[in-house]
């Protein structure tokens, strides 16, 4: 009898120890997966420092992942159920990660958090964090709307007028031709550190700006070859083929063509500011301006990175505590003060922490003024890919490349792409 009692006591003791250990494990560590990139490191530090100030008892374990291996690492971790609690991601991964059950839908967490005001974040930017307008799968880091950087020195040397908010793409082209004639430099930088020519955030605004769209309103009919869409594609391709103002696809500038001073403009997000300001001494004067107008108005793209609670988070509420700080006024002003982005909060629109930042750029508020021109990438149904990856992006890229290199006309190339994408969507 005594033996039995001893045995029962031992079993209960071990069971309590095991439960205690499991509980202790839940609250002692949070895993944070991010990329190893200097541009992101300061934001990583901000999040970690803030979280540790709130929860000194919890250790933040940072797991760096090479950018090139990000997708395979996350997908294999998700398959094994070992994703970090919080993960870094970018807009292009939102849809596949949400559909692949890699990221957690943070919408209920955001709505249930009285200390978090989701409505203060610009709606169009939040669209990059949603799937077909639903859910919340990423807290973006910055109001990353594609805006025009220009080399003031090169414009002035060539005697070309400086960009103004009233500019149209016709004005842009005329100034660029002057620069090309006088200096021999190109205008529209692409590749070599910037996105390549097929980036949706450049192409789709041209299509929208000419009244076109990639998909009809029924959401299933592909319209790459509608007259308006073709006009948009043609205007974009003309920068290479007709006007010769875009950096040729095979022109190796030895890096980012704008940064090395061989291209007069770059259309990119605010994060490029920090790279330009880091150049010592400044090789040329530069500034930023809102994008020029198309016939149908001003349109531009967006592209940002952010953070999310992963689908494998041990404690989603705790992980949310970590992630949500990114959208706080403190974090946003800190990001802006490092010239790594512009605030995504409406409440900071006219904050001196932004408007009074030292130049360059002189016209930093152009990033925010340009924000309302930001449009979202077209969402395609089915499993044929998106504008970021898969067959759809491949078909459009191939068609644009053929047209830019003069292998095919815009119309022929887009007709073929239209046919192939439609066949996939219909299958």
């Amino acid at each position: 009898m005594l033996k039995l009692k001893v045995l029962v006591v031992l079993i209960l003791t071990f069971a309590l120890m095991a439960i205690g250990a499991a509980n202790a494990q839940e609250v002692t560590e949070i895993r944070f997966g991010t990329i190893n990139d200097p541009a992101v490191e300061r934001v990583n530090q901000l999040l970690v420092e803030n979280f540790q100030a709130l929860h000194p008892e919890i250790e933040v374990k940072v797991e760096y992942i090479p950018g090139a291996d990000l997708v395979t690492t996350y997908t294999t971790q998700a398959a094994a159920g070992t994703l970090p609690d919080v993960i870094w991601l970018a807009d292009l991964f939102v849809v596949p990660f949400a559909q692949g059950n890699i990221v957690y839908d943070m919408q209920p967490l955001a709505e249930g958090d009285t200390n978090f005001d989701l409505s203060d974040i610009y709606d169009n930017l939040l669209g990059l964090s949603r799937v077909n307008g639903e859910g919340l799968y990423m807290i973006p880091s910055s109001y990353d709307v594609v805006t025009m950087y220009y080399n003031k020195t090169m414009f002035e040397t060539a005697g070309a007028p400086l960009p103004t908010p009233e500019w149209t793409w016709v004005d842009y082209t005329a100034a660029c031709k002057t620069i090309l004639d006088v200096t021999g430099n190109y205008c529209f930088a692409n590749g070599g550190g910037l996105p390549t020519f097929e980036w949706w955030a450049w192409v789709v605004p041209f299509v929208a700006g000419h009244g076109g769209s990639l998909l009809a309103e029924d959401g299933t009919t592909v319209t790459l070859n509608s007259p308006e869409t073709l006009a948009g594609f043609q205007a974009y391709v003309d920068m290479w083929t007709k006007d010769g103002i875009a950096q040729p696809l095979d022109f190796d500038a030895g890096g980012n063509c704008f940064v090395v001073g061989k291209c007069a403009t770059a259309f990119f997000i605010p994060g490029l500011m920090s790279a330009l300001r880091a150049l010592e001494p400044q090789p040329f004067e530069w500034d930023v301006q809102v994008v020029p107008s198309h016939p149908q108005g001003k349109f531009t793209g967006m592209g940002t990175y952010g953070y999310a609670v992963s689908a494998n988070a041990q404690n989603p509420e705790l992980a949310w505590e970590f992630v949500k700080h990114l959208a706080s006024a403190d974090a946003q002003l800190a990001i802006a003060s490092n010239y790594a982005g512009t605030p995504l909060l409406r409440s900071l629109r006219e904050d001196p922490g932004i408007t009074d930042l030292a130049a360059p750029p002189e016209n930093i508020t152009a990033f925010i003024e340009n924000g309302e021109n930001g449009i979202l990438p077209t969402a395609f149904p089915g499993e044929c890919g998106s504008l970021y990856a898969g067959q759809i992006s491949q078909e459009i890229k191939d068609a644009l490349e053929a047209a830019i290199l003069g292998v095919s006309s815009v119309e022929d190339a887009m007709n073929m792409a239209n046919e192939n994408i439609q066949a996939c969507l219909s299958s």
Binding site: V71, T72, T75, T76, A78, A79, P96, G100, N101, I102, P248, L249, D250, F251, D252, G254, G385, A389, G390, Q391, Q394, D398, E401, A402, L405, V407, N420, A423, C424, S427
Partner: protein, 311 residues
């Protein structure tokens, strides 16, 4: 007596404890290799054969779809045919040019000249340069604006060539780079040339054969087993071409360097279509196997082994 002790009669072997010990030791020695093959080669091969019949995106369970991936490959995927065509054209160009250049260099490296060791080392150097570094180096050499190759061409009055930026020349540029890295082929030819008996050349000389005749009537036939080996391994290697295209051109321009393995890589790791990529892997496996068999079958027509009787 001693002989019997070492080699006991077969029916007595199994009673000998030494036999079992030796057998066990033998199996233990080969066990790591066998296990490695089963776990890391045959296992994944079988798994990929199964995945090729599924819709599998890593996350989530594979969904069995029969031969749909193969049907898609052969009927609807324009990039499949295009990438296979690029790879085949590259393989043929590389085999012809690569074998000829390697053989010519090997002939030079077997001449009795001063500093031969230095020349051999020089020609072997490319093989010790990492593939990625080679690709970056050649991207610089081929650069249209400031590449040294175009600089030399322009110095001698020739026009600059858009090596990697033109659909017409990009694939050929890849061939040039591959030939440069083909030092192993050259070394094997050097070894083969050194095995050709000197007396055959002496006999040919006595018969009045000139240098060209000796090359085609003695060197080539005696070297044919080496050529055969280089052709088989070269073809297999050509079909696995990936790194330079991935680094130097990303398959462009206009898909002119879109190799089969680059296509496979993108399907697997960019599009996460693991089932589809597995089907692609099996197709290229069959293609390589068929071409290798074809070369083997053709070998009696052109490969001569010393000592064999020609029928």
């Amino acid at each position: 007596m001693t002989d019997l002790a070492i080699h006991p009669a077969p029916h007595n072997r199994k009673r000998n404890p030494l036999f079992w010990r030796n057998t066990l030791e033998g199996y233990l020695f080969i066990l790591p290799v066998v296990l490695g093959l089963v776990i890391w080669t045959f296992g994944p091969m079988l798994a990929s054969a199964y995945y090729s019949l599924t819709d599998y995106k890593i996350v989530g369970e594979p969904q069995f779809i029969g031969f749909d991936n193969y049907v898609e490959l052969f009927t609807r995927d324009r990039l499949f045919a295009q990438s296979l065509s690029v790879t085949l054209r590259y393989a043929v160009m590389y085999m012809v040019i690569g074998q000829i250049v390697s053989l010519l260099i090997a002939l030079l490296l077997t001449q009795r000249v001063r500093g031969l060791g230095i020349f051999r080392t020089f020609f072997y150097l490319p093989i010790i340069v990492p593939y990625v570094a080679s690709a970056l180096l050649w991207r610089y050499l081929f650069n249209k604006e400031y590449g040294p190759i175009n600089a030399v061409l322009q110095t001698i009055g020739l026009p600059a060539i858009n090596w990697l930026g033109s659909p017409e020349s990009a694939l050929f540029s890849m061939v040039i780079m591959s030939v440069w890295t083909g030092a192993v082929t050259t070394i094997i030819y050097v070894a083969g040339l050194q095995q050709v008996p000197e007396e055959l050349y002496d006999a040919a000389k006595i018969d009045g054969a000139n240098g060209q005749q000796r090359f085609f009537a003695v060197t080539i036939p005696m070297l044919s087993p080496t050529i055969f080996f280089n052709v088989v391994t070269g073809f297999i290697g050509a079909f696995q071409f990936f790194v330079p295209a991935f680094i130097m051109t990303e398959g462009g321009p206009v898909k002119s360097t879109y190799f089969y393995n680059l296509n496979l890589y993108e399907k697997a790791f960019k599009w996460l279509e693991m089932g589809y990529a597995s089907a692609m892997a099996w197709v290229i496996f069959v293609v390589i196997m068929a071409l290798t068999l074809l070369i083997f079958r053709s070998s009696p027509l052109w490969v001569y082994y010393d000592g064999e009787t020609q029928s």
